[in-house]
């Protein structure tokens, strides 16, 4: 039985077309994966179903949910539908919950809005919903506040709110993008189980083909406001036909061509590094210190590409800051090109390493032009203005941009272009070592493939050494020679990438690899 039918949906926001003739169908008990890159209209389709749209949005077409025409309903009728017939799970569990309300009250509130039989009854049903979301009140009392829970647990609260009234349709918009791999696997299997048990339709929106492939019955691939291809999930293995979806699949598993790392001399030596953060001052004195990095040792050889994998909070970013000489270490030593790294080290040593950050939108001062942004590292190794100009132009061309882009402001560039500019900034002082801190994690898959190609090419041409920090095993597999796995401040496993990823020794590495979603490898793939 068809639960949701979207028929030739067009939508424009303030005159700009966002959706152009989207048609989708979803049956009860079915999981529909909607895949697309940023700006493809996948989230807008979901918001159109709930009619939670900006004021300037205009829709035409038909959206039928459980026999009702959503476009014809007035606001009070829509409010009655939302929550009752449609539940929604958002991407960011940190902001989807009210920090001042206990989790039990938040779930109970959704229930009381639609079916008020008193607070006691609502709390009883909230407990039931939380239990179904695998957050049983016996172990996680409903009097807890969101900040007392981890990211994955918060997402379970959000799911409990969405399913409390047993809606017919659950929309999950990138429900696991903000979560770690192992948590992601748990949340995905929870969603699948709930959809199956309740006979609920699940619309799973994601940019990640692998996430959708493991869960969906049918998939729809969107590009620029249109569904370019849809069908059973076996399309992924038995052959996609539309050129865009084929390109998307290829990009998801892209392996840049690169030479193996040659065995140069050791360029960075990290020995028994310990980094403590002092505990919070409280009325009863100081809380015990938090050890973020705990006895880490490793070497990077010139020309090598070393991966550092771990989940959030494992200490990778702290280690990065210590290697960059931005923060002191409590014990151990870091030597770069034979000289000690510490916060007061000389500029010539600093000029030898640069960093590329994760967020292409947060990495640049919005009030500076590109020429000044890229030239900033020259502060370390001053050169004449015309030389600097020439080198900036050279760096921009090396990353596939034009020298004429120097005069533009950063907001004129897309996310992928910005990440290229970040790489240009890292290249401009001709460093030996570049730290890539989740450098491709925020990019769309097709852009990510291009940036990976660029990084591989630069390393071959310029003999660069990379320390590639990431939570994403697919990316690490594509770009590194050796990989280290970090857990709770310690390196638990090190070895050649292929070996570690195919025959992991440490139980944590095994858990990570088992949890990572993978694309099915069919005959055609």
């Amino acid at each position: 039985m068809t639960l949701l039918a979207i028929d030739n949906l067009h939508m424009a926001i303030a005159g700009h077309p966002v959706l152009r003739g989207v048609s989708l169908e979803l049956a009860a008990g079915e999981v529909l994966g909607v895949i697309g890159e940023s700006g493809s209209g996948k989230s807008m389709t979901a918001f159109a179903v709930m009619q939670l749209l900006p004021d300037a949005a205009r829709c035409s077409g038909r959206i039928t949910l459980a026999g009702r025409d959503m476009l014809a309903l007035d606001e009070p009728a829509l409010c009655a539908m939302r929550g009752r017939y449609v539940g929604m799970v958002f991407q960011e569990p940190m902001t989807a919950l009210n920090p001042l309300q206990t989790i039990g009250d938040q779930v109970a509130e959704t229930i009381r809005i639609h079916d008020d039989r008193g607070q006691d009854d609502a709390l009883r049903r909230a407990a039931d919903a939380l239990t179904r979301a695998e957050l049983p009140p016996e172990r996680f009392p409903m009097t807890r506040y969101p900040h007392e829970l981890s990211g994955g647990q918060r997402q379970r609260v959000v799911i409990a709110m969405a399913i409390a009234l047993r809606p017919r349709l659950l929309i999950a918009d990138e429900p696991t993008t903000a979560l770690d791999v192992t948590t992601q696997a748990q949340i995905l299997s929870l969603l699948a189980r709930l959809a199956r048990e309740d006979g609920m339709g699940l619309m799973l929106i994601s940019h990640d083909l692998a996430v959708v492939a493991g869960l969906a019955d049918r998939i729809a691939i969107m590009q620029a406001g249109q569904v370019v291809e849809q069908g059973p999930v076996s399309l992924l293995t038995r052959g996609l036909t539309h050129p865009y979806s084929r390109a998307l699949l290829a990009a998801s598993t892209h392996q840049p061509a690169r030479d193996g790392g040659d065995d140069g001399d050791v360029i960075l030596r990290v020995r028994d590094v310990v980094r403590d953060y002092p505990g919070r001052r409280t009325l009863r004195g100081r809380a015990p210190a938090f050890r973020a990095v705990d006895g880490v040792s490793f070497d990077i050889r010139r020309g090598e590409s070393l991966g550092l994998v771990g989940e959030s909070g494992c200490g990778k970013s702290t280690l990065t800051r210590a290697i960059l000489g931005l923060e002191p270490v409590q014990r151990g030593s870091i030597t770069f090109r034979g000289q000690a790294v510490h916060p007061a080290m000389g500029n010539d040593l600093r000029a030898g390493m640069q960093v590329v950050f994760q967020d292409p939108y947060g990495s640049f001062n919005p009030r500076w032009r590109v020429d000044r942004l890229v030239a900033e590292p020259f502060h370390l190794a001053p050169v004449a203005p015309d030389v600097a100009r020439h080198r900036v132009a050279e760096a921009l061309e090396a990353v596939g941009l034009r020298a004429s882009d120097m005069q533009k402001y950063i907001h004129e560039f897309s996310g992928g272009q910005r990440q290229r500019i970040a790489i240009a900034r890292a290249l401009v002082t001709r460093p030996d070592l570049i730290l890539l801190d989740e450098a491709v994690s925020a990019l769309d898959v097709s852009v990510r493939a291009q940036v990976l190609d660029l990084l591989a090419d630069l390393s071959d041409r310029l003999g660069l050494t990379y320390l590639f920090i990431s939570h994403d095993l697919t990316v690490v597999r594509a770009i590194t020679d050796r990989v280290m796995v970090m857990q709770a401040g310690r390196i638990v496993e090190t070895g050649p990438t292929a070996q570690v990823l195919t025959a992991p020794q440490h139980p944590y590495t095994r858990a990570l690899i088992a949890a990572a979603p993978t694309l099915p490898t069919g005959d055609a793939a």
Binding site: V355, F357, L380
Partner: protein
């Protein structure tokens, strides 16, 4: 947007009046014409004349100069001292310098500003300069707090981290990266402090501690009109309206600038 335009219009009228008064006024404010005293508004004197027969319109135009000069310099003092203090506090967040600056701020904030201004002018003698100093000192913690608050969130950005990786020190990052990004907030706060400065100057002059005669001042015009309010109400009404419209205009302008310069508010519309 309409509020912003109205605010801009009002502020431009006041600035224009002050500027015109530098070269021309309807009647010299130093000249007395007792025969013509306490005339209600006529064509020759659109806002009437005072108890010395001086043209009220001319006095308001010249008085605008005093108000603007006092408020502008006071805002300048507040920004000139407060912004560097706020930047320094944010650059050393959590350190002893931050602590000293912010506790010093709290100390200044703890006193009622107008009472201290009265104390300062009463101690050092009433004059426009002392009024400026007194108002300016109380602008310092306002700007220091606004600057620190905005700068704190900027210090966690990746581009500040990139500047640190490029070996730049705290002072340099504060000046090159942080200051330009808090500037729009400071402009908005500046317009609001400017209007508060005009009010404070009028208040000080009203109690006789601001600009001294014969320099015309809106606050003193109000004070002098008090005894004559029953038979010459225009003497109180026009300086009062001048203060009202200037402060209103500056506040509308400040609000409008805040909306125009804050990308978060812009997007939500």
């Amino acid at each position: 947007m309409i509020a912003f335009r109205l605010g801009l219009f009002l502020v431009l009228v006041v600035l224009g009046a002050a500027a015109v008064s530098l070269v021309w006024v309807p009647q010299d404010v130093g000249a007395m014409a007792i025969a013509n005293k306490l005339k209600p508004p006529t064509l020759a004197h659109p806002m009437g004349t005072d108890h010395f027969g001086r043209d009220v319109l001319s006095m308001i135009m010249v008085g605008a100069r005093t108000s603007i000069a006092v408020a502008l310099v006071a805002v300048g003092i507040g920004m000139g001292v407060g912004v560097p203090l706020g930047l320094a506090a944010a650059a050393n967040r959590g350190g002893w310098l931050d602590e000293i600056i912010m506790r010093g701020n709290d100390l200044v904030f703890a006193f009622p500003s107008l009472v201290i201004a009265i104390l300062i002018t009463a101690t050092f003698g009433p004059s426009a300069v002392n009024a400026i100093l007194a108002i300016g000192i109380f602008n310092i913690p306002v700007f220091a707090r606004v600057t620190r608050g905005a700068a704190l969130s900027l210090w966690t950005r990746d581009w500040v981290m990139a500047a640190r990786v490029a070996g730049k020190g705290r002072v340099r990052i504060s000046v090159e990266h942080i200051l330009p990004n808090v500037a729009n907030l400071l402009i908005v706060q500046g317009t609001i402090q400017f209007s508060l400065g005009i009010l404070a100057e009028a208040g000080l002059s009203y109690v006789g501690l601001g600009a001294q005669p014969p320099t015309p001042s809106w606050g003193r015009m109000l004070a002098e009109s008090q005894t004559m309010i029953s038979f010459a109400p225009h003497l109180a009404i026009f300086p009062g309206l001048a203060i009202l419209f200037t402060v209103l205009g500056l506040n509308l302008l400040g609000d409008g600038l805040r909306d125009a310069l804050d990308p978060r508010l812009r997007r939500s519309r």
